[in-house]
Symmetry: C2
Subunit: 387 residues, 2 copies
């Protein structure tokens, strides 16, 4: 057996698991939340700050890096790890999600997708083979099969897209040559249980070292998302890591981990930070533009151990947000990333110690209690702001 990409499940609690995924850049304890460094940089943070905020895995976007600075340049500079100075595990997506998000700027056929760059309008093409080659040049530890991401409620489109995604999964596997990268297959199927089941069975049959669930958190309800996750994790093999793509509120982490998810990523903590919003452990959000924080000497979250909470008052953070100081984005990103990575870490520990159900009950009681407090109702998790 290869030393890398072995997934050790150390303990379980119902479907929840605490494990270790072994990568060329070290062992990755799971469950884990990964912040997003779209352009080989987690916005407004140095790698040292990302690490200090509790992150052990970061995600970078293949579409963006392919366009700029170019995957060949990253390869020439020694690969993503050296380029962005992140010595822990890195995950790249396939570029599929971004390309499909381009709307009118892309055209899909059975072989791949032709698209125009959002930067300069130049014409490009991604196929499974090209996506894998680009990801091999970038050199992440964990890379993704090229897939199609349809709108979740369109049955006919989802049926057609699913067949393409499955063919592309096979082609991605065949195209992949680097032994020091784990290629994950992606389950699609929108909000349709039969399609999700079909996709999970097919993708699981291909022998990927890990599996991702794509096409969720894109407009469907929370109930639909959790139902799809539940269904898919019942089918995916237990001895390989499961990654819920693009998901990341505190509630989603709790509900995902309960349903057997091991890995998450989301732009939410850094995007909300740039909008002056702090994520709290219980799901509430603090919009620091609110005047009631102007003279508030308390930290964002008195229970939080991050640099921001150990060092600064809400009053100071509000001043930075209102003054449009870049430091606001850095300090709130540190806090938000810490909140999510720490939440995953807490759950891991609870699973290891055989007290996960009690942990979940306690977390839910706290989340419900704070959500029902009149002054904070407005701040409960709902929607992400625009890009």
């Amino acid at each position: 057996m290869k030393p890398w990409f072995r997934f050790e499940v150390l303990a379980t609690a119902g479907k929840a698991r605490a494990g270790i995924f072994h990568t060329p850049h070290g062992p990755l304890p799971t469950p884990v939340f990964a912040p997003v460094g779209t352009r080989a940089a987690v916005r407004a943070l140095t790698p040292a700050q990302v690490r200090a905020a509790g992150a052990t895995l970061v995600l970078a976007n293949t579409y963006h890096l392919y366009l700029r600075p170019g995957a060949d340049l990253v390869a020439e500079m020694g690969g993503l790890h050296r380029f962005m100075a992140w010595d822990g595990p890195i995950l790249t997506d396939s570029g599929g999600f971004q390309v499909f998000s381009l709307g009118d700027l892309r055209e899909v056929d059975d072989d791949g997708v032709t698209f125009r760059s959002h930067l300069d309008g130049s014409l490009h093409r991604f196929t499974p083979e090209i996506s894998i080659r680009v990801q091999e040049q970038l050199g992440a530890d964990i890379i993704m099969a090229f897939d199609e991401c349809p709108e979740p409620y369109d049955r006919a489109y989802n049926e057609q897209a699913l067949q393409r995604t499955h063919r592309w999964a096979e082609r991605s596997l065949r195209a992949h040559t680097r032994r020091d990268q784990a290629l994950f297959g992606i389950v699609q199927g929108g909000v349709f249980p039969d399609l999700r089941e079909q996709s999970a069975r097919f993708i699981a049959s291909l022998g990927f070292p890990g599996h991702a669930i794509g096409g969720l958190s894109v407009g469907e309800t929370k109930a639909e998302m959790y139902a799809m996750v539940d269904l898919v994790t019942d089918i995916l093999p237990a001895d390989k890591p499961r990654y819920l793509m693009g998901v990341g509120t505190p509630e989603d982490l709790v509900e995902g981990i309960r349903r057997g998810i091991d890995m998450f990523d989301c732009v939410l903590p850094t995007r909300l930070a740039r909008h002056g919003t702090a994520m709290l452990r219980d799901g509430r959000r603090l919009n620091l533009r609110n005047a009631r924080f102007a003279r508030d000497p308390a930290p964002l979250d008195p229970q939080c151990g991050c640099y921001t909470c150990r060092t600064f008052s809400r009053a100071y953070l509000r001043h930075l947000v209102v003054s449009k100081e870049m430091l606001a984005a850095s300090l709130l990103s540190i806090h938000n990333i810490h909140t999510l990575t720490q939440l995953a870490r807490e759950m891991r520990q609870a699973i290891l110690e055989g007290r996960f159900e009690a942990w979940v009950a306690e977390w839910k009681a706290q989340a419900t209690a704070t959500a029902s407090r009149p002054t904070s109702a407005e701040e409960h998790d709902q929607h992400a702001p625009g890009p």
Copy 2:
């Protein structure tokens, strides 16, 4: 004698001095370069990063903090040190320079200045008494007398402004009550030797614990600036620190320290960083937008020991600049601040070790050599970009 604000001169080399200025927030080794944290934050950097970049003193702007969040709020939050979490010495300016920079938005009379906020157009008034009260609320270790900053070439205006600056210096002294703050007097006089001499003699006679030279680096030539500095430092008492306000290129530090300056501050390192420009020790500047850095694996400055140079290539930094990643400003600010603080530190060490003249000769030879290399001629220190 008070334990604070004693200025120990440890060694001299011609007019240059290596010393320690004792403040309530610790001993401040001089010569020293201070980065600027206009709104109680050095742009794009945490206090931990500012410290790691080599800074021991930071400057904050009274005008900006008076308008937002308000000096009373800062006082209520425990003062500037606690508010911005900087536990070393802090210096505030008087607000005079900013108010006079408002142009049509301000009107000066013998008692003070009435001005409109650049934020919301609201009407405000600064007098020496108000400036000192605001600075006492902010609570910096080193504060400044309220002065008038005229255009440097207008003789008649400079004569008139100088009288006002001198009256305001006396009023600032009388208004000042906090024993844990050192109030510095400011020498003005434009580019006119007789006015500078008159001002230095008068300000020196008032018994301030330190002296600043204002109204330079505002449009006059380098030769004029250095001549004014030379003249003024011959007059100011040797047993008190001398602060050259708003000055900060490598050349200015070398020439200022040679002429007996102990303290500098400038927005240049952080402003240039936000414009994608690195300052090198020898005075050159690297504009990272330049395509020739696209595949350059070298650090900004192979001799530099800052986090940015120890960790990242020019290729990566260029990618961040071109991609408009906020991290570019952070990493370049770290490097630029390190360049200037380290330069002051090197000169201090050279003075202490009796080899300052040799150090200066060596620095100049290096600066000349690099300036004359064809590929870097375009990058030599010239002008700061716009705000």
